[in-house]
Symmetry: C2
Subunit: 238 residues, 2 copies
Amino acid sequence: MTTQSRKEREFQEREKLLIDIAAKVLVERGYIGMTMDRIAELAQYSKGTVYQHFTCKEDIITALHNRDLTVLRSLFHHASGFKGTTRERMQAVGQAYDWFLTTYPHCNVAMSILHSSSILDKVSGHQVGHMHGAEQGVIQVIVDIAREAVAAGELILQPGKTVEQVILGLWAMSMGLFAIQEKARHLSIMKDLEPNRVQDMHHVLMDGYGWRPLSHEYDTRAVDERVMHEVIETFVIP
Amino acid sequence: MTTQSRKEREFQEREKLLIDIAAKVLVERGYIGMTMDRIAELAQYSKGTVYQHFTCKEDIITALHNRDLTVLRSLFHHASGFKGTTRERMQAVGQAYDWFLTTYPHCNVAMSILHSSSILDKVSGHQVGHMHGAEQGVIQVIVDIAREAVAAGELILQPGKTVEQVILGLWAMSMGLFAIQEKARHLSIMKDLEPNRVQDMHHVLMDGYGWRPLSHEYDTRAVDERVMHEVIETFVIP
DNA sequence: GACATTTTTTGACGGATCGTCAAAAATTCA
DNA sequence: TGAATTTTTGACGATCCGTCAAAAAATGTC
């Protein structure tokens, strides 16, 4: 154990601490209420030390999001290994995503902020680059499942349609639903809706694409149960 | 013409001017770059006067969004009158929404910001209440079309499903797609995708719900054309 | 251990923006 | 015209961001 590696490790540990605190403050106080002073105070370091890790407020949110994306990729990879048809594996990934966003609400908050226009302008190029790569990695897992589905003849694309479009649709559906849920609890359209709607919507969309077996051709609820036991309960955060 | 009504009119005109400027600055400089000082300067009024209209920065964005929602409701109502099946009328509304967001990019930006968590905390209760009502009004137009579809037997809901769920799915899809488009031009999944994807995704989802006629049972492109002429070109902003 | 050198941490500070409010300007009224 | 009222103004206090010279801690040398 050299001095250098110990210092490096301590630096990484402190970065983790700062990101954890940022997540906490972000959920509790929102984007406006998350000040660098508050993070420094809670971490019991001075502001200058915080700025050794992150260039600005937006940078720390990006770092938080990047960490989430890394976890998400391994979660998706884990879910992708679910034993079943491509359609069932897709269901497993969707359910895992649902679970992840519900379990770690800061992820949603950070995502909303980073998707809000012009925030990324202030973030360091290094972090943005890392984010793009991480997002690509996450998407790749589900694109691969869809490719397998096409290869297996379980998903037959209309002329001019691509696997990427199918995934984009599912992705957009998840994002949109979570964005709406986040904000629109007051809308009467949201009344009487059980929380676990995301998966149902995915089924409708995959049915629309004709991804076999269709949702009425197999027991989706039974798969739900299995995913909970075989994917989510066995997942360990890296 | 009393003195009072003239003053009231001038106040309204100035409010419109300020909102127009806010929209412009918001698109050009983003949330962070949109400062109250800049808005005041461009409007050639002092900051204090701006604060007579809006309580804070977030309040002016909400006012902008509220105005958009009002326009959107009348646009949706206009599109809902399209001559055709419920499915075609739904397509008309979707296409109109697509056109609106493309034509007025500030709408997207404002929406992203307002959906970002905790921003609304700072907005005056009056504006938030107005927003909720306006959103409800916009949604009501499309819920009504779906209800008509059910009544006409063109949309047969699975047991336990509601019209609200169908609409929520379409709504989420639009939001998610625009959010992704806004930010994720860099993702390789977005390459090779033509801009007008939103409508295609809606068709897939409606097909998934079994909303008759299905997209391959009628000429969706021809309806696209008709909507452009009969809805969008004839729409006048109220 | 004492002292010099390097690294890390600190918090005071300048700059920017927010939102306020007493004073100035404009308008209305008598 | 001049007093009373309304509206507008921009200087000001407060807050937060991001920096940097100085202080503190750690490391290296004898």
